[in-house]
């Protein structure tokens, strides 16, 4: 793992990628700090963090698109497969290199609250818990992007898929508010999701019976739940959608609450997508 990690980290700095990424993050945070803290004299650094989180929409796909897609393109995946290292080490080495790359601008940014603090009273605890949340949000999004890169051979497709997913996550709260949360609408929407799920099962297993089984298994409890206790299912769909709003998990941190569930959420998303990446890389040997 250490060999992969070192190679990856080094490769960011032999090319432009590492410098561009760090410069991009620092530039964005710098602009917002100048505008909000210095020009308008807001005393809190959390405003800057809150306004800057959308920057990940661009920075993450650019960073992650090449991570696995390029290996396949230049055939080096064959080298990695034939070396005596496990797929988990391979994925974690790459992931940690990207996390370290994100940690560099985050460390620089950590000095900003101190800087602002020398001109007035700043809530350091809010500022630093926001910075921690910002870093963890980035880690979660990088894991999502890495997974997108592992399922395709083309960097551009990986970047576009990652961008699309991140935009969806970014807008999810707004989208879920558009949905009506009556019991019937919620049940129908969940059924559509279940139908899509069984279609995916059909695509993956090429068996209609497995897909049918998935559909039945998901439909029956939904219908039963709708008939027995409509109040439970009302709003379930919007709640499910809201759970996918990765970016909005940061809001409690920036409003001064050190939200442990939020931390657990970010770490879980990162772990889940690292796990998916391992599976995707492993699966490629079978095709």
């Amino acid at each position: 793992m250490i060999a992969i990690f070192k190679r990856e980290l080094k490769s960011y700095f032999t090319g432009m990628m590492g410098y561009v990424f760090i410069a991009f993050v620092l530039l964005f945070i710098g602009i917002y700090t100048t505008a909000l803290n210095l020009k308008y004299a807001y005393p809190g650094f959390e405003y800057v963090i809150k306004s800057c989180s959308f920057m990940f929409l661009i920075a993450v796909p650019v960073l992650t698109m090449r991570v696995f897609a390029e290996e396949r393109k230049q055939n080096t995946d064959q080298l990695l497969y034939s070396l005596p290292i496990s797929v988990i080490d391979m994925v974690m080495g790459k992931y940690l290199a990207m996390v370290v790359l994100l940690a560099i601008p985050t460390a620089v940014v950590s000095f900003y609250p101190l800087l602002i603090g020398s001109f007035g009273a700043v809530s350091y605890s809010t500022a630093y818990s926001s910075i921690i949340a910002f870093f963890l949000l980035g880690c979660a999004l990088i894991a999502i992007g890495m997974f997108m890169s592992s399922i395709t051979e083309n960097q551009i497709i990986a970047a576009v898929m990652c961008l699309g997913t991140l935009i969806l996550c970014f807008l999810m709260t707004a989208l879920s508010n558009l949905m009506t949360s009556t019991a019937l609408a919620s049940t129908l929407s969940l059924m559509i999701v279940a139908l899509l799920l069984s279609l995916i099962v059909r695509l993956m297993t090429k068996s209609w019976s497995a897909a049918g089984l998935t559909a039945v298994i998901t439909f029956v409890p939904l219908v039963l739940l709708y008939l027995i206790s409509p109040t439970t299912i009302a709003g379930a769909f919007t709640k499910a959608l809201a759970a996918l709003a990765v970016f909005d998990r940061m809001n409690s941190f920036t409003s001064g609450i050190f939200d442990l569930t939020g931390l657990v959420y970010f770490v879980s998303v990162a772990a889940l997508f690292c796990f998916f990446t391992v599976q995707a890389v492993e699966k490629r040997r079978w095709s």
């Binding site: 250490i2 060999a3 992969i4 070192k6 190679r7 080094k10 490769s11 032999t14 090319g15 230049q74 055939n75 080096t76 995946d77 064959q78 080298l79 497969y81 034939s82 070396l83 005596p84 290292i85 496990s86 040997r285 079978w286």
Partner: protein
């Protein structure tokens, strides 16, 4: 050293490797031969753990490549068909990375990298970016990567493709040298190349194993089917009558007269014995002169073609 049992790989509805079994003993150079699309690369990819098999097992030095991949892969150095190189690294950085990943101890790492660079002749290119190297040097860097860490088995997939004649000789010498104390398996679709360096040949066609033997044995097998071409001073009927007296040993494959009472004959010799002398006296006794006689030995190339050819037309598969 390597035991391949019942190996099968199916892509969709195309069978790339079809129940192949063979054993590779240590300390020999194995040639893995077959026409394009025979399943050579697929088999090698499975042996090295780059690809999962549909069926069958591979064990390397007692470790199953699927159950115990890390221990099995520690014994293998692999150069795939396309050398797996990071374009934006220098040769030395790349080799250091591979050495670290292979678990070469930090103390001996520099020495080991220097050793393989010297062996493959890339030392003077060590500070160049791989993307700026020529095809031959890329191939050598790939080879250097494979022999790093001194693995017990070295697997090379078409290692000589794209090399100039001088490099070809150098790489062959290197392979021979490696074969002294290690097991080497190299694939090719060129017969001469393989017969020049290998102790054993494994021939596959259309995913099936068709032969596994030493080049000498295969050649002997070829010699038992020699062909004689002769021009005699006799007409067709006379010639046929004389050859008929020789019994089952020879059979006329074709005969045609070429003017002035001369006849050209092509004879298939069924026995191992040399029948040229007998033929000479048979014609001399009848007062017919033999004007020319040429013995055509079947080369290893022909054996290869005859072994792989009949199968190749059968299924018409040319997939990867």
């Amino acid at each position: 050293m390597i035991e391949v049992q019942n190996l099968t790989k199916v892509y969709g509805n195309h069978i790339a490797v079809d129940h192949v079994s063979f054993t590779i003993d240590s300390g020999k150079i194995y040639g893995f031969l077959g026409p394009n699309g025979a399943g050579k690369s697929t088999t090698m990819n499975i042996i090295t753990g780059c690809l999962a098999a549909t069926e069958g097992t591979v064990t390397v030095d007692g470790h199953d490549i699927f159950e115990d991949p890390i221990l099995a892969k520690k014994n293998i150095g692999y150069l795939p068909e396309m050398p797996p190189l990071y374009q934006d690294m220098t040769v030395i950085d790349y080799l250091r990375f591979v050495a670290e990943a292979k678990g070469v101890p930090a103390k001996t790492l520099d020495g080991e990298v220097a050793r393989v660079m010297a062996k493959t002749g890339v030392t003077e290119m060590r500070l160049r970016l791989i993307k700026n190297l020529s095809k031959g040097y890329r191939q050598r860097t790939g080879l250097a990567q494979a022999i790093l860490g001194d693995p017990k088995v070295i697997i090379l997939d078409e290692p000589t493709v794209g090399l100039d004649p001088q490099q070809l000789i150098e790489i062959r010498d290197l392979i021979r040298e490696l074969g002294h104390d290690r097991t080497v398996m190299l694939s090719s679709h060129i017969m001469q190349e393989i017969s020049a360096v290998c102790d054993m040949l494994i021939i596959i066609a259309n995913g099936k194993l068709v032969a596994e033997d030493t080049p000498e044995n295969l050649e002997q097998h070829a010699e038992s089917e020699q062909t004689l071409r002769l021009v005699v001073h006799a007409d067709e009927e006379q010639a046929q009558a004389i050859i008929a007296t020789m019994g089952d040993m020879v059979a006329i494959r074709s005969a045609k007269s070429v003017g002035e009472g001369e006849t050209e004959l092509e004879l298939g010799v069924l026995s191992d014995a040399d029948v040229r002398e007998k033929l000479f006296y048979a014609f001399a006794d009848e007062k017919h002169a033999i004007l020319s006689m040429v013995r055509e030995k079947q080369s290893l190339e022909d054996v290869f073609l005859s072994l792989t050819g009949s199968d190749a037309t059968g299924k018409g598969g040319n997939g990867k």
